[in-house]
Symmetry: C2
Subunit: 266 residues, 2 copies
């Protein structure tokens, strides 16, 4: 039997309470270009610690500011419950390595299962062929030196331009994504997944981008199975740009929406 903790995402975001803080270990399985831990992964570690202290089950909105690159190795997370209300609660988490703060985030939690208000969606999931009829972006492999790409399957109607050495010039992408080990996504994982695919700006021919801030809205608990994703950048100004990301579950519901503020390399 496979338990949750057998999955790399759960094992590698595990936190342990140690007095007034949590301890964690950032592993080498979620490396971005250059080998530093991916920003969504660091966010998930900090958010997992904070979720232990929150009186409501689901992260609804998370705002993370990235202060320094992370490193593979031990980390601690300091948490603070800022306000615990009846319907929502807000907390803060700080991910610290070697005495230096790498990520600080604010998060408001609630209960997605209790959201009983109106629903009115003016958007549709990406129009993708079924996963089995799409191209495996990494051909069952991974990008050399980018270990996070070993953790996921990505499937698209056509291979993206960056993957074939011919960037399209259009910073948009639609594709399927899932954990390669079969773990289904949950709200905590969604908050990491929005940062787990190739940046849309790769289609502009740039090698990557540095996240300054990432805000994630978790809109629903995802159904099991493949996730349909849409990434886009519309405004690159003086090197700064946003990336918008949507995740739709296998039942066709929007389950996460994110925007990050990032800077192209000089």
């Amino acid at each position: 039997m496979t338990t949750m903790t057998d999955h790399p995402f759960d094992a590698d975001t595990a936190v342990e309470r140690a007095g007034d803080r949590y301890t964690a270990a950032l592993t080498d399985r979620w490396g971005a270009l250059g080998g530093t831990p991916n920003g969504g992964y660091m966010l998930a570690v900090a958010l997992r610690a904070l979720s232990r202290d929150m009186p409501h089950p689901d992260p609804l909105v998370v705002s993370a500011h990235y202060l320094r690159p992370g490193a593979v190795g031990p980390a601690e997370v300091r948490t603070e419950v800022v306000r615990a209300g009846r319907r929502v609660a807000t907390g803060e988490a700080r991910l610290i390595q070697d005495g230096k703060e790498a990520v600080r985030l604010l998060a408001t939690f609630g209960d997605l299962g209790a959201a009983a208000g109106r629903t009115d969606v003016r958007n549709a999931p990406p129009d993708l062929p079924p996963p089995e009829a799409t191209a495996d972006v990494l051909d069952g492999g991974a990008l050399p030196g980018v270990s996070i790409t070993e953790r996921f399957d990505y499937r698209a109607a056509r291979l993206p331009g960056w993957a074939t050495g011919r960037p399209s010039g259009e910073p948009v992408a639609e594709f399927w994504m899932r954990f390669r080990d079969g773990r289904d996504a949950d709200p905590l994982a969604l908050a990491a997944l929005v940062d787990a695919a190739a940046p849309a700006v790769l289609e502009l021919g740039v090698p990557g981008s540095s996240t300054i801030e990432l805000t994630v809205h978790v809109r629903g608990r995802p159904a099991p199975g493949w996730l349909a994703c849409r990434a886009s950048t519309r405004h690159v100004i003086g090197g700064f740009h946003e990336e918008d990301f949507e995740i739709w579950d296998s039942s066709g519901r929007l389950v996460a929406q994110s925007r990050q503020f990032a800077l192209l390399p000089e």
Copy 2:
């Protein structure tokens, strides 16, 4: 001669250092429906205090979580410089009234004048007639009991549905906006202006919405004059929704982009 501090926005967001904190006073000139101070106004007060401590001039990205309604009256702002780097610096500010925290925000500052990277914009300003050829949404007046509407002029090609009692059913809006007293916008004001217009969801026939979180990206120092704005909501799910907001300056450049996470009234 009109000095900056003659303008209500500057007078009402003024902060004074008092030992390890700043003091401020929230006035009754920025009231939302119900009379509580507008969220963008409270953000501006906290951000103005934080900007005093930051080594870089411009807020680039601000993430504010709203904890409690504010009230007209004294406030204090506690600030922390989290990390000061060569190109960007990140800080935290907490707006406190009567011993209770109302807003907590994280903000990363930089120098918009030094942003020398690539520019590639895949979007256009709202396609509006010149301001003098548009309808004055408030007809020179204000919404009764919503004092913030006395501070701005709003002009649109047609009167919005909510203003005529016939909501359109389409939660989108494009309009001109400016401070009614002639003050031009600057980066600090932009961070408040993204929350200073009618929520797009009014076109769904709801009376308003409560902001849980607001993230603002400031993308440029605005040219003087009218600002062209675009507001939209695409995903209302269980009562929770985002609102996206863009501000384009009189020279046709995107100068701010925001997204908030909000909850419709029950």
